[in-house]
Amino acid sequence: MSMSDNHIENTIGRYLGGKMSPEEEQSFLKQVAESPELSQQVEMERAIRNAFVEDEIIRLRKQIQKDFQNQKKTTHRWKLWGGGLGLLVLVGVGSWFVLNNNQDNNSSFEPKTKQSPILEKYLPTPEGSKEISSKDGSISSIEPLKTKVIPTEQKDKDIPNTPNITSSTPKDSQAVKENPVLNMPNRINEPTKYSKTDPCAGFNPTYDVTSMPSYVDANNGSIRFRLGKEKLEFWLASDTAFRSLQFSHLGAGQYLYFVKNKDGCVKGPLSLEVKTTYCKEDHFPKHYISQGNYNPEIHESALTVTVYDKQGRTMAEMNRAHGFEWILSPSQSLGLYSIEIQYPHGEKCQYSLTLFE
């Protein structure tokens, strides 16, 4: 490779690596435009570089695919564990109900046979009762302590004070019937507890809702909820699965929404309108400021621009005649503001604005 070749290669390398000054680049591009040979060399050099970029991209694609597969496997594993756990809980709860119903049946119809020893093993030993063992040492039944369970003298007389019950008898069932734990009432029929768990009891949600208008011929309106003290969920009628405090890309029109509290009470459908407007600007979601100056790009037909802080206080007023520039004072912090733009025909558009360095 000659010196000249080396020089050309280095020059092309500096050009492709973005290491040239604008003047140098301009001069080099002029040479390229005039020399087909140099143009071909640049193309080949770029092809070589890009082949390596593509090689990296191919490797990265494989890595991302692998990461997503691993994530899927992990999620699947958790789902299996969750499913297994759910099944276990279901079996447990089911057993509890079966046992409970058995006890209820025992008390209502007087049992014909004694509880299965296997089931008995899993019955809870109530507080204020004692286990009665048979001669072989296994637990044969549970006897309530009559002083705790039977409060009246009349009942005291009805319950025979026979400590060793080894077979299913009316006496045995009576003991079970009076047991405070085994004969626990069904929660659903317990009026006081039920009213406490009513998810809608006293549910009057407090929140603010605002709708930002959409421009003409564009779906760029939004609905925004601001929570009060309560944690609430909101969704639009069109998408029950998506819950958020903000819904964007909305066209003008009437929207139905639902609100749900943490106990599961749902209110709705409630109605809200997203209006249309003739706003011409893009959104102002975030803006860098440099050296405390904010220079928004405002449509040429705008007349005035007003910036408000979160409390609605006017922070800056700018007009076309004096230019749209806001020099932040030391007391004006970076963060969230709202910006209002007024157009010649009296239309006003408001956007949220975040300033940061």
Partner: protein
């Protein structure tokens, strides 16, 4: 240094594991949210995110990303366009509202990306024909911007002269392989949009 600058810097330095972890945490949920709003599935969101990250990487590596670019905003725009493109390709565009239009600034990068994706297999073949040693050597010089001394130390060459001559030989080989594949020269050799 802002997080966006850190991401771009990490891409340039080839710290891809950090870049991916950061983007999974920071940008993936937003892309998922976007695709869900456009009635897309979780898998579609992952596909779109993957391609958007790759486009970002290419733009940064080829010097097309300006300082001060917001990575999240860029990924959002690219993802949206990719998904719309995908819907059009699948003839599902009727299901999209008519306001969903493509972002003209982003579209050329996406078209270029899709064209390169079609050539992926040929690029893999090209570099495999080049051989691992040549590939490592050229990669160190061109992509990692190492000088001959650093390459000699990293790849275990006896001297910088050996590196220099090997570089010349490997580059010539790659040029010959590319000349046999003019369509690759055409697609890889044109400036990135």
């Amino acid at each position: 240094m802002t997080i966006d600058e850190q991401i771009i810097d990490a891409i340039l330095k080839g710290n891809n594991p950090w870049v991916l972890q950061t983007l999974y945490k920071r940008s993936l949920p937003k892309v998922k949210n976007l695709i869900r709003k456009m009635n897309g599935t979780e898998e579609e969101a992952q596909d779109v995110f993957q391609e958007a990250v790759l486009i970002l990487l290419r733009q940064v590596k080829t010097g097309k990303m300006y300082d001060g670019t917001e990575v999240d905003a860029y990924l959002h725009r690219v993802s949206r366009n990719l998904y719309l493109n995908d819907l059009r390709r699948k003839n599902k565009s009727q299901s999209m509202p008519n306001w969903e239009t493509m972002d003209n600034q982003i579209e050329p990068s996406i078209e270029h990306h899709l064209a390169l994706r079609h050539s992926e297999q040929q690029i893999v073949e090209l570099l495999s024909l080049l051989g691992q040693n040549c590939k490592d050597l050229l990669q160190a010089i061109i992509m990692d911007d190492l000088d001959y001394q650093e390459v000699a130390e990293k790849l275990g060459y006896a001297s910088t002269d050996v590196v220099k001559s090997q570089k010349h030989r490997c580059k010539k080989k790659l040029e010959d392989l590319l000349l046999q594949r003019p369509h690759l020269v055409q697609i890889l050799g044109k400036p990135m949009p």
